[in-house]
Amino acid sequence: MMGRPDLFVIGRLLEAMVNSPEPLRRTPLQQKAGLNYTVFQRYLDYLLRLELVVETAGSEGRLELTPKGVEAYRFLSEGLGRIFKVTNGGS
């Protein structure tokens, strides 16, 4: 059972998938998000439950974003960028 989710962690996970040209396996995703295994596993379960991420049908163990996941990433990156005054260019 997860408490309050950390939006920054969710954002990093979703971004790693958005930026990846192909569906990612768990380990590269964990490395790209810079999370330890326990936290990664918890958040991945959470994202799967929310249907922001799905396991790719063809290749087992690979993960990709759903449209809802992309929408969630947009929502988070725009919201966090607005709060912390970071523009679209990344600076």
Partner: protein, 280 residues
């Protein structure tokens, strides 16, 4: 995902009246809605199988790395501003205490002035007294410098100017960092405010002494009842404006951090509402 009006993400947003009544939106998946209250809920009962997204779909908004970097900069800036204000406080207290101790330090001496008069008084009436008290003003200069640097750190609006690589703390790290920054700025406010007490007293006594010393041999010496005026002048011309500036900049810093914490909480609530449904 855009609706007919081109708005992003509106389709999954429940209506406000549903939120008020605590009705779960029909558009949200059951598994997601139940996450916070019923962890054992079966994922298989959720609505349909989600459609995978083409990963080349562009996403708006700044990358998370820039946000991480921005937050790292913010935390660094708070640390620097707090450190500067502590230096200001230390120097102000050192200055105030030094002036008061110097003035109250016992030790009567007899001084022969340039016109041959013999005056008996405390040690600081000797010629060495003036340079000592004047040099103490250098400490005020350093203190003011530290305060102004702290103010500059606090007023910097853009937070994403660093070229350092983004740091990505573990879960809850940024939230904690912002909350700690809030606490640090509150401490900084008290520290800076209290430092104005010795600074003001020291300035008053120091400048008054210097003026008295310089004027003691002149015809103005007869105006001794008004000698508090030169001492009060730097207080009004330096300490009070400085206090106002410090207070405003620290309050501005506090307000900005409070606003960010509030907006983060709102974003979190909106995220939970939009993507998981009400968690009541």
């Amino acid at each position: 995902m855009k609706d007919a009006r081109g708005r992003v993400g509106e389709a999954a947003t429940p209506r406000a009246d549903e939120f008020i009544r605590g009705v779960r939106p029909e558009t949200g998946p059951r598994s997601a809605r139940g996450l916070w209250t019923d962890a054992e809920e079966d994922v298989s009962v959720s609505r349909g199988v989600p459609e995978p997204m083409d990963s080349t779909t562009p996403a708006n908004g700044p990358p998370m790395a820039a946000i991480d970097r921005s937050l790292g900069d913010l935390a660094d800036r708070v640390r620097r501003a707090v450190r500067r204000s502590y230096w200001f406080s230390g120097l102000a207290w050192a200055y105030g205490v030094a002036v008061i101790v110097a003035l109250l330090f016992p030790g009567d001496t007899t001084v022969t002035t340039s016109n041959g008069a013999i005056i008996s008084g405390p040690w600081w009436m000797q010629p060495i007294g003036l340079p000592i008290f004047l040099s103490l003003n250098v400490v005020v200069g350093f203190a003011v410098h530290e305060l102004l640097v702290a103010r500059r750190e606090a007023l910097q609006e853009s937070v994403a100017q660093s070229t350092s690589p983004p740091s990505s703390p573990s879960e809850g790290g940024w939230i904690r960092a912002i909350q700690e920054s809030q606490k640090a700025v509150t401490r900084m406010k008290y520290v800076a405010e209290f430092a104005f007490i010795p600074l003001t007293l020291g300035l008053f006594a120091d400048v008054q002494f210097c003026v008295m010393y310089l004027l003691s041999g002149t015809s103005v010496a007869g105006l001794s009842p008004y000698w508090f005026i030169p001492g009060a002048l730097p207080v009004f011309l330096l300490a009070v404006p400085l206090y106002i500036v410090a207070r405003r900049s620290i309050a501005g810093f506090q307000t900005r951090l409070d606003r960010q914490v509030g907006e983060l909480a709102r974003l979190e609530a909106e995220f939970l509402w939009r993507f998981t449904g009400p968690s009541t």
